[in-house]
Symmetry: C2
Subunit: 335 residues, 2 copies
Amino acid sequence: MELASLGEFGFINRIKKAQLPHPETVAVGIGDDCAVYRTIQGMDQLVTTDMMVEGIHFDSSLLEPYWIGYRLAAANISDIAAMGGEPSQAVVSLAATMEHEVEWYTAVYEGLHACMQTYGVNLIGGDTVHTKGQVALSVTLLGQVPRGQAVLRQGAKPGDIVFVTGTLGNAQVGLESLQAGIDGYDFAKQVHKGPKPQVRLGQLLRQEGASSLNDVSDGLSSELNEIAKASQVSLFLKPKDIPFHSDVRAWAKSGEGTYKSPLDYALYGGEDFQLVGTMPTASWQAWKKAHPQEPVRAIGYVKAGAPGLFIRLKEGQTRSLEAKGYNHFTRNEDK
Amino acid sequence: MELASLGEFGFINRIKKAQLPHPETVAVGIGDDCAVYRTIQGMDQLVTTDMMVEGIHFDSSLLEPYWIGYRLAAANISDIAAMGGEPSQAVVSLAATMEHEVEWYTAVYEGLHACMQTYGVNLIGGDTVHTKGQVALSVTLLGQVPRGQAVLRQGAKPGDIVFVTGTLGNAQVGLESLQAGIDGYDFAKQVHKGPKPQVRLGQLLRQEGASSLNDVSDGLSSELNEIAKASQVSLFLKPKDIPFHSDVRAWAKSGEGTYKSPLDYALYGGEDFQLVGTMPTASWQAWKKAHPQEPVRAIGYVKAGAPGLFIRLKEGQTRSLEAKGYNHFTRNEDK
């Protein structure tokens, strides 16, 4: 069905699902000038926002609309996880083109809803407009964390260890193998489509003493450089300790991709939405005893020194790793 | 300067103004995964979001970038005013094209900042991305209102009066006279460029017993139909009581515009961002005594009956007024 024949209000009715995972925090949902929600005493409030544009942040010929919506929600939820917080409420705006049918947009919202349901987020507002350009989607996510407890980038201290959750490089390998039309790599492809923000682990790491925290949206190199600069410390990576899934090892070895080593996928791949951060050694020893089954690995350490990220090559040798952050205003940056 | 040569981070540094009107509510501003802010016990939280697209919601050949930013902030602040609330925090996302230079985008943010400063809103986050299509801007605004006190659309009761703040039709007359390149109509043009959301009056009307409230973003016809439907009442308008500025009277009379009567500009013009609502008669009598200087006028009344808006023509005669809401997905809807 064409969007024009359904109309804006018909579309809103189609995507306005009444079922909220936490209705007890919402006094007024979608349908008035504002939504009205309630916060809990003693909690700090978190807010993050992300915009995704068709052809820049997603390729609708490669990614089904459901997963486009899912990923956008996941990326925002991951920012809340990276503060050690709990996501709560969201609003979503859509600039729609007539290039896609109603069913495509409905599927985008189904993916958004599914991810938000999984992480207990109430979708309580939004805006839908028309554009002649490219589809743009904007999500603003609210969350909470106990007062004064948000884990920032600036808390890393000399003597801390550097940790990471899960495995890295998967999303980039998933994207590249999809783009190349090569079968297999199903785990990596699924991480690309439907990444899992680490909300539970973020809260647990906060409670157990994480001194800094970031989510891996742009690759380990960029994220750890951010922590190093914000904390004014040197971070040292031990490449052999970085955990990889077999899909990343196999893809790097195949020579089909951008990089030839799993390490480079971890450093520059991005969009895994795992967490990376630092923790005092004593807390880390306690963590390992208390949570031996959790997928959190020490991959480096913090020293006093020039703010930056360094990699341990061989005994005694180190190399500086520049942040290769994604610059949205560089030309030809299609990612 | 080209946006590409400044880069995303250079641009963010340029627009990231440290000066917040209410720094005491912000624990962590722009620069981490989330911003962290604090809410006040006993207050309900409000959230609203708006997206504006170049060529659809604004014409950058007619409207200076400063006013594009200002209007977007004002439109969101007006939604908070329409709940009887106070705006507090905002995040802004931009999908930028290379069609405009850095200075153009900087001016958009200057307008956003100026409006937010005026109304005490902290800009605490955002996202900047590239699009090959049309410029899109998205604002999410947070606010607060005493617990359980938000003024909804659904509270109008038979016997209430219908009130409006300020004068109506100005923004549409301002837009049309700008489009026609006709001199004069300076008041109307200024309302189009830099509308003034009625935050103070919204709070005062809430305190003094307003039973329903809406902001005039789509024209009186659409807004009052919304209240009538949400409240399940009939609203009756007395056209002679609707207040107009001389610019609207003169423009309607000139025959240059879309409509021939000031009334039609009030009903269908929109974007004045005045407030319209209802109040019990007793509260209204008290209001008139307590606030004789405030620009709030009674323009109609509420009766039990079929939900809808009716206009009093002559003694005894009434005509139903359909909502002519703006449908964003209708083709050729450029506004």
